[in-house]
Symmetry: C2
Subunit: 334 residues, 2 copies
């Protein structure tokens, strides 16, 4: 079994057009191939304000599939630790043997999640974009912006977050790294009304974005909600959209924005939702006019994890110097 550290993984896998292509293909696989994606396994540890998710997906014909363990422990900041953690492994689909372990501390998840945002924007946002809005100031907010830069040109970023200190840090870091002007907004409304693309990246339990703020041409990617109680968009936002897209319909109906729209609406909204893979597979059109309002609900699927892990493994194995090999033969009964 080969074991790779975060540093080794980062040296091979970046958030670039190749990663976006890999994730785009994963969504197409979901639509056109035989993919087994069991429901997410979730362990909530209330005493520590923590949650652990386990995701997996097997794409028929691939030599390996991935199993991902990811955790979010939201009081870790009190201990000076990051809230997100995790690792991935790949398992042989021929023999069931564990093949490689990626001690990535959640890095590959950041990459595949941001890449999904880029895939959504590529197919759903207007071609000409002036301003991009970001709700939330965490690590994934930064990754989403980087990913959007791969598929759209834009001159301005508007950001809203609850902590002024974090907004300021976000502004400084993004302006320095991406060379793009960032405006701190005093309300989420200001972000939404001024932008062509809005990405929400929060663990909100009460909706942040209101339907009243929508305007023709807007595209929203909501990637924060991945649990029953989370919600970033008013249900009415989905009712008002011309196009509702999601990564995995059954999962979004349980854990995503679709879930709340289905519960609070007449069921029509949920019925109309299209899976992103239907669009990347060119079975269904994405945005149809510059006036469309489009909303993409991303909850994160195991097929993204399997795709990014197999992609990482291809490069890590090729780069022969890295990776720790543990020889661990099975000892037979004696």
């Amino acid at each position: 079994m080969m074991i790779f550290t975060e540093k080794e993984i980062r040296s091979c896998v970046g958030l670039d057009l190749e990663a976006v292509r890999v994730i785009e293909e994963a969504f197409t696989d979901l639509a056109v191939s035989k993919v087994i994606t069991p429901p997410i396994m979730r362990i909530d540890i209330e005493e520590s304000n923590g949650e652990v998710d386990i995701k997996s997906a097997y794409v028929a014909g691939k030599p390996f599939f991935a199993i991902k363990v990811s955790s979010g422990f939201f009081d870790n900041y009190k201990l000076g630790l990051p809230s997100a953690n995790g690792l991935m492994m790949i398992v042989s689909t021929v023999t069931g043997e564990p093949e490689a372990l990626f001690l990535d501390n959640g890095y590959l998840t950041e990459v595949r999640t941001a890449a999904a945002g880029a895939v959504a924007a590529k197919h759903l946002a207007k071609e000409e974009v002036q301003a991009v809005g970001i709700i939330g100031t965490g690590a994934q907010a930064r990754y989403q912006l980087r990913a959007l830069q791969l598929v759209r040109r834009f001159e301005q970023v508007l950001v809203y977050g609850r902590s002024p200190q974090k907004v300021q840090a976000f502004k400084e870091e993004v302006e320095k790294e991406l060379g793009i002007e960032v405006t701190a907004c005093s309300s989420p409304r200001q972000v939404v009304v001024s932008c062509d693309i809005v990405v929400t990246t929060t663990p909100a339990k009460d909706p942040i974005i209101k339907a009243d703020w929508l305007h023709p041409g807007l595209h929203i990617t909501a990637m924060g909600s991945d649990a029953e109680e989370k919600q970033e968009l008013e249900a009415e936002v989905l009712n008002k959209a011309d196009r509702i897209i999601c990564d995995r319909k059954d999962q979004c109906l349980r854990l995503g924005e679709l879930h709340h729209a289905a519960e609070q609406g007449d069921g029509k909204t949920a019925d109309q939702a299209i899976e992103l893979g239907e669009i990347t597979a060119k079975r269904i059109e994405g945005r149809r006019s510059d006036k469309d309002i489009t909303v993409c609900d991303l909850t994160g699927t195991g097929v993204q994890d399997t795709a990014i892990a197999l992609y990482a493994y291809k490069w890590l194995k090729a780069q022969k110097t890295s990776g720790l090999i543990i020889e661990n033969k099975k000892i037979s009964f004696s």
Copy 2:
């Protein structure tokens, strides 16, 4: 993160009375403590005649919980490889960080599964036992026998398996290792009618044991069935038993012998089933007389994995020389 190989794990954890005590406590925890056991995640890979299960359980108040990946690829023998494989990890319940990885190739599963058989026999088999019957000749058949020797004295073993070669190998190995006479039987009936304890350890999809063969005083532990389509006992076997015990009722109703009894019977049998933890916690009596016919349906639960993993970690950490430590600090956004 600490990483341990099978050899290191075997040097610390054996199938002994201490392991049986740990698993007995785990069942008691299931009955009396707050335990979160999400449904098993299962990925079937039909092309390779393989299956991968992921199990987990969090026992409130423990510093870690385990996640186990175990696979069974039943054509592996054609490649000269064992069918079973897997690994376990433990994760901090305080911070969500991965703490240790056990590259045990399924060894800890063999131990915790056999230990559960010993717990069942301890509480459910007659005190005086002449002969023990084993259906199946795989590795777990051997482990179950070793485990039974920890809780009951017996002079004779009867075995039935479909392959005469495997039966012969089983007989030779067990006679040599355990110093006990083994009789190869030509039918499962011969095993059941002659024994006080029978353990079934097969992946059978059609029932092997018939209700007609039951006799007063018999105890059966059925540990093979852990999937919807598997079945080792006729449904009528459960209907005829005086006491039906299972490891986890909701799981056995989906994956175990209870599932078939519930489907084919009038539902009474399933209603009467008692969880093993109710007995180890001394809330309910086990065997009540030497005439009782008792049946224990074991599907394997995540709480056993968490218990054996935490037990292994305690010893492995104490034995400072073993274990590979990988320093892998999270790299922040840059």
